[in-house]
């Protein structure tokens, strides 16, 4: 039984934490929140230089070839620090999609730039308020040309290429589209979490290159991989909320003693801890499934995502509550986590849809 990160991975975590405390403190996060800047370019460049972007990309494709467990470790720290970069879009979705389904030629030509950060990728799936189910996809490819509209696309305003889910006849397929090419219009949209940019993409006959042949099942496999990695970001954020709430409650006196001594607060923090431990344990299982390409991945990923959404939602809102009125101010950092918790809860599809997906995966496993 070895269900824990090893010493090297723990060392990587410590290094990443120190680096991000220095380079991605709340003041840096607020630079992206409070200005028009869509992401922190300096931070992004350093992620490339340190080999973080290429952590799970093999050396043959320009990555640092550390592995997926190492990427999970980094994801937790990125979530804890609220790093304002397109990491999830570009790496958990873009690079993972190429590694999962790209042809040798596609991997050779695209992965090296993803690993250095020279190129940013994103996934264009949702088409407005209707759930992103296969039957709801109207963007279409005909003769290698894509037309349609995608909203919202995380990091769609800054990405160089998108993996676009579009139909070709009856079935959905995945297509690589150069967002700087002809036939692409994009607009940044206002969101609850401006530290993670979102856009509307309009395609009018843009050149589309096929990725893999499986269509929707391939999309779900890619989402499963990203779900595990995003779960680690969520756990990092939730843990930061618990620590913030604890520190505040220890220092805040009311009725003659620290509010951390009152059971109403103690039990709230204990409940945060419980949710986080459940989510963390499930995320570890997801990490194992991701790193070994286990048949269990669909179940493990959905379990990790459902638990992580629950934990971060709870920790982020109760962190505001423990801070009282100050937690509701712009000045305090509680809302940075609150926003990110909401963003990560929706970016891969709602918890409702992932619960449904979990039960579907269990039904399949049961039938097998």
């Amino acid at each position: 039984m070895n269900f824990e990160f090893n010493d090297d991975q723990r060392m990587l975590r410590d290094q990443a934490r120190r680096f991000l405390m220095d380079k991605s403190p709340p003041e840096v996060v607020r630079q992206t929140l409070e200005t028009e800047q869509p992401y922190d370019q300096a931070l992004w460049q350093q992620f490339g230089e340190m080999g973080w972007l290429g952590a799970a990309i093999p050396e043959a494709y320009g990555g640092s070839g550390m592995g997926h467990l190492e990427l999970c470790v980094l994801a937790e720290e990125l979530g804890r620090a609220l790093a304002p970069t397109p990491f999830a879009s570009s790496i958990y979705l873009g690079a993972e999609a190429l590694l999962t389904a790209g042809s040798e030629e596609q991997k050779q030509s695209y992965l090296p730039d993803l690993a250095t950060g020279a190129a940013i990728w994103c996934l264009a799936l949702s088409e407005g308020p209707r759930p992103a189910a296969e039957g709801n996809i109207t963007a279409a490819v005909s003769d290698g040309k894509l037309s349609g509209e995608k909203l919202p696309v995380a990091d769609g305003d800054v990405a160089d290429r998108a993996i676009v889910v579009a139909r070709d006849g009856d079935a959905a397929g995945l297509y690589i589209v150069d967002l700087n090419g002809a036939g692409v219009t994009r607009q940044t949209v206002d969101t609850m979490d401006p530290t993670r940019s979102q856009a509307r993409l309009i395609f009018a006959g843009a050149a589309a290159e096929k990725l893999g042949n499986e269509g929707w099942p391939l999309l779900e496999r890619i989402q499963d991989r990203a779900a595990v990695l995003i779960a680690f970001e969520q756990i990092g954020g939730a843990q930061a909320c618990l620590e913030m709430a604890k520190e505040y409650a220890l220092g805040r006196f009311a009725f003659g003693r620290p509010i951390a001594g009152y059971q109403a607060i103690k039990h709230r923090l204990a409940d945060m801890y419980i949710q986080i431990e459940l989510a963390r344990s499930n995320a570890y299982y997801g990490a194992w499934a991701l790193s070994t390409n286990a048949a269990e991945l669909p179940v493990a990923a959905a379990t990790a995502r459902v638990a992580a959404i629950e934990a971060y939602n709870f920790a982020a809102k109760e962190n505001v509550q423990v801070h009282g009125g100050m937690g509701f101010t712009w000045e305090f950092n509680c809302h940075l986590y609150y926003r990110r918790a909401r963003q990560l809860a929706l970016v891969l599809g709602s918890q409702r849809r992932w619960k449904d997906r979990l039960i579907r995966a269990l039904e399949r496993r049961n039938a097998a």
């Binding site: 039984m1 070895n2 269900f3 824990e4 990160f5 467990l69 618990l242 604890k246 409650a249 220890l250 003693r257 620290p258 951390a260 001594g261 059971q263 607060i265 103690k266 039990h267 923090l269 204990a270 409940d271 801890y273 419980i274 431990e277 459940l278 989510a279 963390r280 344990s281 499930n282 570890y284 299982y285 990490a287 194992w288 790193s291 070994t292 959905a302 379990t303 459902v306 638990a307 629950e310 409702r352 992932w354 619960k355 449904d356 979990l358 039960i359 269990l362 039904e363 049961n366």
Partner: protein, 410 residues
Amino acid sequence: MDFTDTPEEAAFRAKARGFLSANAETKSSGNRNLATGWNKDEALAAARAWQARKAAGGFACITMPKEYGGQGLSPIMQVIYNQEEANYVAPRGVYEIGLGMCIPTMLAYATEEQKQRYAPPAVRGEEIWCQLFSEPAGGSDLAGLRTKAELDGNDWVINGQKIWTSGAQFSDYAIMVARSDFDVPKHKGLTFFFLSMKSPGVEVRPIKQMSGAANFNEVYFTDVRIPDSQRLGAVGDGWKVSLTTLMNERFAVGVAPPPDFDEIFDLVRNTELEDGPALDNAMVRDRLADWYVRQQGLKNAHFRSMTALSRGETPGPESSINKVVSASKYQDVSFFGMEMQEMVGIITDPDIAALDGLFQTGALSSPGYRIAGGTDEILRNIIAERVLGLPQDVRVDKAVAFRDLPTGRD
């Protein structure tokens, strides 16, 4: 990360599997409810026989030193054995308190001669032990107990009452804590003993629970004499000794029993609602997902603890969430299983109720799991104070002589 055993662990697991398959019946839906109702004579006889067989096979008290009847192996081996035993009908509830809490306390505080006398028969299942801690006036506030211990020559004379004592009705011996000094603050006036449950003046009365079963008892003491040689720890050190026992409690009070996700999933897959299969109902799927996620969270947390044990480390605090999560889940799943059976859900007759009435039994048994071995509230306090390092509750009784404390309604 991987889930494989070390070669040594794998060898032990294989040995345990061999022993279990040769000596026990595997669990099936037909014998799912056999573990309940262990105050019945036949269940007790079955438990005694199983413990004896386990001891003879070398699988009882795996971490206990060999000279006292154990196997002298590391905690990971006990976990491995428990995992394997969980697949079989193995009635061990009768012994969990004695071997999990009482005997470890004896090994920490009794004389060498006493350890030699009492540990081996307990391990073989020949003598059953219970724990006399809680009182009507002291449950969560255990140190508020009032049973009086007075020294008379070489004997202590005990008067008072204990409550919630599991298994007192068939126990041979007990450990107990009583108040030897009423003039000092409450934690300082306690003294710890062990005694024969057959001592004159000990009276056991069963408590009928809301489920109708009677697993607990009240135990009354009227001038019960305990020789001073059966005192564990110094006079006035009873609280310290109690903490040794309670540290073992979290290992002894395990996860709540079924129904859990597997049983509710089983029920739902065989249930038709007004508009089609229950499994196609969005609300049902939502609830199922919640319980699966919690069940797996606990299972995966357990893997993390096992990893620490396997490395010879102490498990982290993740194990502290076990009971608080599983007890509520037990209750919620039981209620939902009744919902799924619509109006029939109220029927307990095992010939009519789904899964032999497992959900109805759970609905009436689960409240006890949220209380026994540390209430939901006390466990949250423990997580807050010991794991997160938050301040203790304000204790107005800390510096006051016990006899001057307000006691509320009597």
